[in-house]
């Protein structure tokens, strides 16, 4: 990102907006508290730019994660005025005169300020065997496995997940039951299930009370997904697959 301070100085006298930021400092706060900051209301500033202004100029002790600032690294998911959002892609001006309330993603243990613990999610991600499973001899590294654009299209959408975890935060099932495998992990399993090159089977991990059958189809995961992955669809599709497989034991997928 460009250095913003200079532009801010040039626009001195501009309006400000109130940001109320959740602070949790272990050893100091027993539970999260809000701290208010006034930041310049620049028309092209995202909520993340506001946080960076706080960190750089007002309070160096504020902690949060961010990196690419172009909506693809998945680091900067937070709760903004009650909604799970990528803060790099959410403009301050969306909130009129403010205040803008920034909290950590709901449903996760809070490590510090706006930083949540996502190790549980990483374990879930591994558990669905998210890699291409092949049987028999590998092809030599001189030729690719053929895949037509239609076959690619069949799973492409589920391969777009950036692991930002907005879907977990928006999912009441996950928030009530942290053991629920959850939207992104199941969508990723479907990304490989529907890949014409994959020969694996993930029925054992997906056909579980805590996996696809835990989903009550609230549909919020799909609504908050910034990459249009549609995890709710992925889950419902696997429910149908799993149900058919239970009835028709010879059918696969």
């Amino acid at each position: 990102m460009t250095d913003t301070t200079q532009a801010v100085r040039q626009a001195a006298g501009t309006r400000t907006i109130r940001m109320e930021v959740a602070r949790y400092r272990p050893g100091q706060d027993a539970e999260p508290v809000f701290q208010g900051y006034d930041v310049p209301l620049m028309s092209d500033w995202a909520v993340l730019d506001g946080l960076n202004h706080i960190k750089d100029q007002l309070d160096g002790s504020l902690s949060y994660r961010w990196s690419c600032r172009m909506g693809v690294c998945g680091s900067c998911g937070m709760t903004v005025n009650g909604e799970a959002r990528l803060t790099c892609g959410t403009f301050l001006s969306e909130y009129g005169d403010g205040p803008v309330r920034v909290e950590p993603l709901k449903g996760f243990p809070i490590i510090r300020d706006l930083v949540v613990d996502i190790d549980g999610f990483l374990a879930k991600l591994s558990s669905v065997r998210p890699w291409l499973i092949r049987e028999g001899e590998d092809l030599p590294l001189t030729a690719e496995y053929a895949q037509t654009p239609e076959q690619l299209e069949a799973y492409k959408q589920y391969s777009m997940c950036i692991n930002c975890l907005l879907c977990y935060s928006a999912c009441p099932v996950y928030v009530l039951d942290p053991d629920f495998l959850g939207p992104a992990a199941i969508a990723l399993a479907q990304r490989y299930n529907l890949d014409s090159r994959d020969m694996g089977d993930r029925f054992d991990v997906l056909n579980q009370e805590d996996a696809v059958w835990g989903c009550t189809f609230v549909g919020e995961c799909t609504k908050v997904c910034p990459k249009h992955v549609d995890p709710a669809e992925a889950i419902q599709r696997y429910k149908l697959t799993a149900a058919l497989r239970s009835v028709l034991p010879w059918s696969r997928r």
Binding site: K55, G60, S61, C73, A146, L152, D195, R197
Partner: protein, 581 residues
């Protein structure tokens, strides 16, 4: 004891990890990364990855494009190895599940790219880096013995008697400081774009790996070669991929004129011509922008002058099929639609051609220490990298470094020397002191952000697209002074829990080391070549400077620059010709 410890969990680091795991499953391999691996900056690469696969293309042509693109500063033996292995690596990624875009018959599709004479750029729509990184990360999950230190920040390499013995790292979440002994270390921390104020690089690109090696005496190479990508969005610096031009986009000035035709880049054609006009190399396109600006033919915005990238004639369907991410980025971050609007763009710092000096196997002059990817300089990129060479580079040299480190670790089984323990203890005390700096909220010292901004503007002013000797000389001094001031920077956070201010301070100190080497190398190279353009030495000077810059850190912290000959195999230096044939 870890056999191979990899610093950095992006494309190069993960490829190295798999290479080690496949070489010998008994070897203990660990990946230490300051972010979760799938957050690494590889994720942001858009356009594609070059590899010779199309009928009618040859390895020699890829070599020639790369070497001429790099203004003959590439080591040609390295380029030949790279070009030969790139297609295999891309097919390997395909076998691991990477969703490469396809032809209708199921084969992998290739697209044209800047500076390339043939269509050889593999792509996954315009999220190639994203798919590549996630495929690699998900594949590493298969190797459950790979140890991951996620969100750990390496602060020091333990080196004794010219041999690496591990690292000191801090767990960001808890503030715990640990010595991690290792037989070999591979640096794969990526680039350092954040030393400049306006960059496509993510917040994490602070040159940590380069600084770690440099501080322990390993030389950095060709640090003056900083690539400006011609098409970044103003303010955010978000990159609009070269693929937008490869698919037929035009660069126009404020008069709607395709100005590149005035800069010896060929004549405008309605459809893209390879190695011509908008498909010229990045250095030449960024330099043309500066000339347009000087002649008053750019458009002023609050974030500086811009020209326009025009995609409107491509139509909605083609944009959605080939470069959907460009449309998504323009809509979300610039509030415009490339199907109907012009995209304002300006050159933006994008890539570091220089890095830790290594051989063809990623080995640095410190025994057991390797580097791969943007952190390293082998060098295949010379004075200017061609678009779509960096993704195959991280794969080819990530794998090579992994194999070389595995072999080294198997041969060197001795225990660590006692000196290493005391180095680790010293480092722990140094870090604790830095954190304690925030103890009383005393308000002393300068803000980290202010020092960072000063550094960025100093470097931009001196080592931007065009450079002059006296400004560079002044910048070297200013940066040295800033380095001292950074030792006394103000800290407001003394917590051990996820203390990002401490990490920002350590990153700033790394960046200041790197910034100094960039200015020093740029000052020393009294010629113009590729991305390094001196207004006071405007011609290429092969007699004196057909050589790499090699910069060591003197004991007092100042950079000392020397030269190292370039390896020429089959392509003698010639003129760089674009748009004429």
């Amino acid at each position: 004891m870890i056999d191979v410890l990899i610093v950095g969990g992006g494309g190069a680091g993960l490829r190295a990890a798999v290479a080690v795991a496949e070489t010998d499953p008994a070897l203990k391999v660990a990946v230490v990364s300051k972010v979760y691996p799938m957050r690494s900056h590889t994720v942001s690469a858009e356009g594609g990855a070059a590899g010779v696969i199309a009928p009618g293309d040859t390895l020699d042509e890829h070599c020639y494009d790369t070497i001429s693109g790099g203004d003959w500063l590439c080591d040609q033996d390295a380029v030949e190895a790279f070009v030969a292995e790139a297609p295999k690596e891309l097919i390997q990624l395909e076998h691991w599940g990477c969703p490469w875009s396809r032809e209708s018959d199921g084969r992998v599709a290739v697209r044209p790219f800047g500076g390339m004479k043939k269509m050889r750029t593999w792509y996954a729509a315009d999220k190639t880096g994203f798919h590549l990184l996630h495929t690699l990360f998900q594949t590493t999950l298969k190797y459950q013995d790979i140890i991951r230190y996620d969100e750990w920040y390496v602060t020091k390499l333990l080196v004794d008697d010219g041999r690496v013995h591990g690292v000191v790292a801090t767990e960001i979440r808890t503030g715990r400081i640990e010595t991690i002994p290792a037989r070999t270390v591979i640096l794969a921390t990526g680039g350092c774009g954040r030393v400049f104020p306006f960059t496509t690089n993510a917040a994490v690109k602070t040159g940590d790996g380069m600084a770690l090696a440099y501080r322990e005496g390993a030389p950095l190479k060709d640090m003056e070669f900083v690539q400006y990508h011609p098409t970044g969005l103003p303010f955010t610096g978000i990159l609009i991929t070269e693929a937008a031009r490869a698919e037929g986009g035009w660069l126009i000035n404020k008069d709607g004129y395709r100005y590149l035709q005035d800069y010896d880049l060929g004549k405008p054609t309605p459809t893209p011509r390879l190695r011509s006009m908008e498909l010229g190399p990045r250095d030449r396109l960024s330099q043309a922008f500066v000339h347009e600006q000087r002649q008053g033919r750019t458009v002023d915005t609050p974030y500086g002058p811009v020209v326009y990238l025009d995609l409107r004639h491509l139509g909605e369907a083609k944009i959605d099929a080939r470069i959907p991410f460009v449309r998504e980025l323009c809509r979300s971050y610039q509030n415009l639609d490339p199907a109907t609007d012009l995209i304002p763009v300006r050159p933006v710092v994008h890539y570091m051609m220089g890095g830790v000096h290594t051989d063809l196997h990623g080995a640095t002059p410190i025994a057991g220490l390797y580097a791969a990817g943007e952190t390293a300089c082998v060098s295949i990129n010379g004075a200017n990298r061609l678009g779509s060479n960096s993704l195959p580079e991280i794969l080819v040299f990530g794998r090579r470094a992994g194999i070389a480190a595995a072999a080294f670790a198997k041969e060197h089984r001795e225990a660590e020397p006692p000196a290493v323990r005391s180095q680790g203890e010293d480092e722990r005390r140094r870090l604790e002191r830095a954190r304690e700096g925030g103890r009383p909220r005393n308000g002393r010292g300068e803000r980290i952000a202010d020092l960072r901004e000063r550094m960025q503007h100093t470097l931009e002013g001196a080592a931007g697209i065009y450079r002059t000797g006296d400004v560079l000389a002044k910048a070297v001094d200013t940066l040295a002074e800033l380095r001292e001031r950074a030792e006394e920077a103000r800290m407001e956070d003394s917590s051990t829990a996820f203390n990002t201010e401490l990490i920002n301070l350590l990153e700033l100190r790394s960046m200041l080391e790197i910034a100094q080497t960039i200015a020093a190398c740029a000052l020393n190279r009294e010629e113009s070549r590729g991305a390094h353009q001196r207004t006071d030495f405007s011609a290429r000077d092969d007699a004196a400077f057909l050589a790499h810059s090699l910069v060591h850190r003197a004991p007092d912290g100042t950079p000392s620059v020397g030269l190292l000959p370039v390896t020429i195999t089959r392509w003698p230096p010639g003129e760089r010709v674009y748009g004429r044939d």
